[in-house]
Symmetry: C2
Subunit: 244 residues, 2 copies
């Protein structure tokens, strides 16, 4: 698809210091993007399962074979969106100071996600995946992949924190539970707001994410009077905020 044309390059006098992306890499990135864009458009217009790899290739102006050089399936192409979202979350996590409790780092990373630009593509895909088994499997895979990366990140952090011994079970159970709580929050958000991107809706998502991590931190203490949970967007006051 990228025929020989002037490369978009980096705007103008930008910071071109780090890896200096070659034309090859730019082309590849552009093609990759063209594919996922085309796939997403087709998903929207024709609905899940009603278009083929050939359709995507045609829309992205590449050959069918080239599509398979980038992605192993339609679902994989679409899952790239989710991967992007989760990679973003992971990057946020890694930015947190090493001494911080993991649950607090996770909470901080998660609330960064409830922002329109980040959550929008994810939201759309997530809702479409609800009704499509094929798509849903890829989503699950993406979340699983993210879990594995959190485990790595957390293990690395433990390795760098002098005092802390670490337990593989602890690590894996915590990482998996965190992801599950993130998913639970998204699920409830969708059920409640239908993936709307209004400020109020995003505020609810943020609160749900915080609450979910809070539940985790409190060991899922039985909510005695849980009817006052997440209906209001009253900033950061969470139940179970004792230790996280």
């Amino acid at each position: 698809m990228p025929t020989t044309q002037t490369v978009p390059a980096q705007a103008s006098g930008d910071n071109a210091v780090p890896p200096a992306p070659s034309r090859r890499e730019l082309n590849k990135a552009a093609t990759r993007q063209a594919i996922t864009d085309a796939a997403l458009h087709l998903l929207r217009s024709k609905g899940p399962g009603n278009f083929t790899v050939e359709d995507i290739a045609e829309a992205a102006a590449i050959s069918r074979r080239t599509f398979f050089n980038y992605f192993s399936s339609t679902e994989a192409a679409l899952a790239a969106v989710t991967h992007g979202f989760l990679d973003h979350a992971l990057a946020q996590f890694r930015l947190r100071p090493a001494g911080e409790p993991i649950l607090e780092s996770a909470r901080a990373a998660l609330i960064q996600l409830a922002d329109p630009m980040t959550v929008a593509p994810m939201a759309e895909l997530y809702s479409l995946a609800q009704s499509n088994p094929q798509l849903n499997r890829s989503e699950l895979e993406a979340w699983d992949h993210c879990t594995a990366e959190i485990i790595d990140a957390a293990r690395e952090r433990f390795a760098r924190t002098p005092g802390a011994e670490f337990d593989e079970l602890y690590l894996r159970a915590l990482a998996g539970s965190l992801i599950s709580c993130g998913k639970a929050a998204m699920d409830v958000w969708f059920a409640r707001c239908g993936g709307s991107l209004t400020p109020e809706s995003l505020s609810i998502l943020r609160q749900l994410l915080i609450d979910a991590v809070g539940l985790l931190g409190s060991g899922f203490a039985r909510p005695e009077t849980p009817q006052a949970s997440t209906t209001a967007n009253n900033s950061t006051a969470t139940p179970f905020a004792d230790r996280l």
Copy 2:
């Protein structure tokens, strides 16, 4: 595959009261079993990805088309094993008294699983899935399906317990975290024991499952001295056993 032959029936003078399985149902169950058996054998002998649906059909003495009447893919046929395992767990969960705390019910249900007959097929599949993306996706789907069923079971339980209000977020986050902890325990068990089915190995699995749920119940309190975790099979003495 079940040609007209004397049905195995139910041994002899057994309890044939409940639904009186018809010949049709018996045949279907037998075919289904024949398929999963054949698939499992091929998986063992040829390795993942090195056999086709046609191979399975031939081994099960049915047509390719009939295979697809039972399962939508090779992976689905193999995932039936995992589904059986998880259904077993779920049945255990549903048997627990409604008043019991959910974490305690989960703990009780999970330790029932660490029994040779139950865990053996699962163990084999689980280890094979580690190295096979296709298979792993089906496994993820099976766990996800189980999560959904736990949510249903827990919701039902809440509905029947008069005093308890329930929170959708609480439910989903808890169910997801429970499954994640189960997976984490299995992961660690495999890493440590390689899926061995000796009594010691199973004892370790049991302890890992208990510990994982314990971690969940304690809100993943930072283990200050976690080096004495699950190396011994000292019955049910767990760290973090304060409230579960």
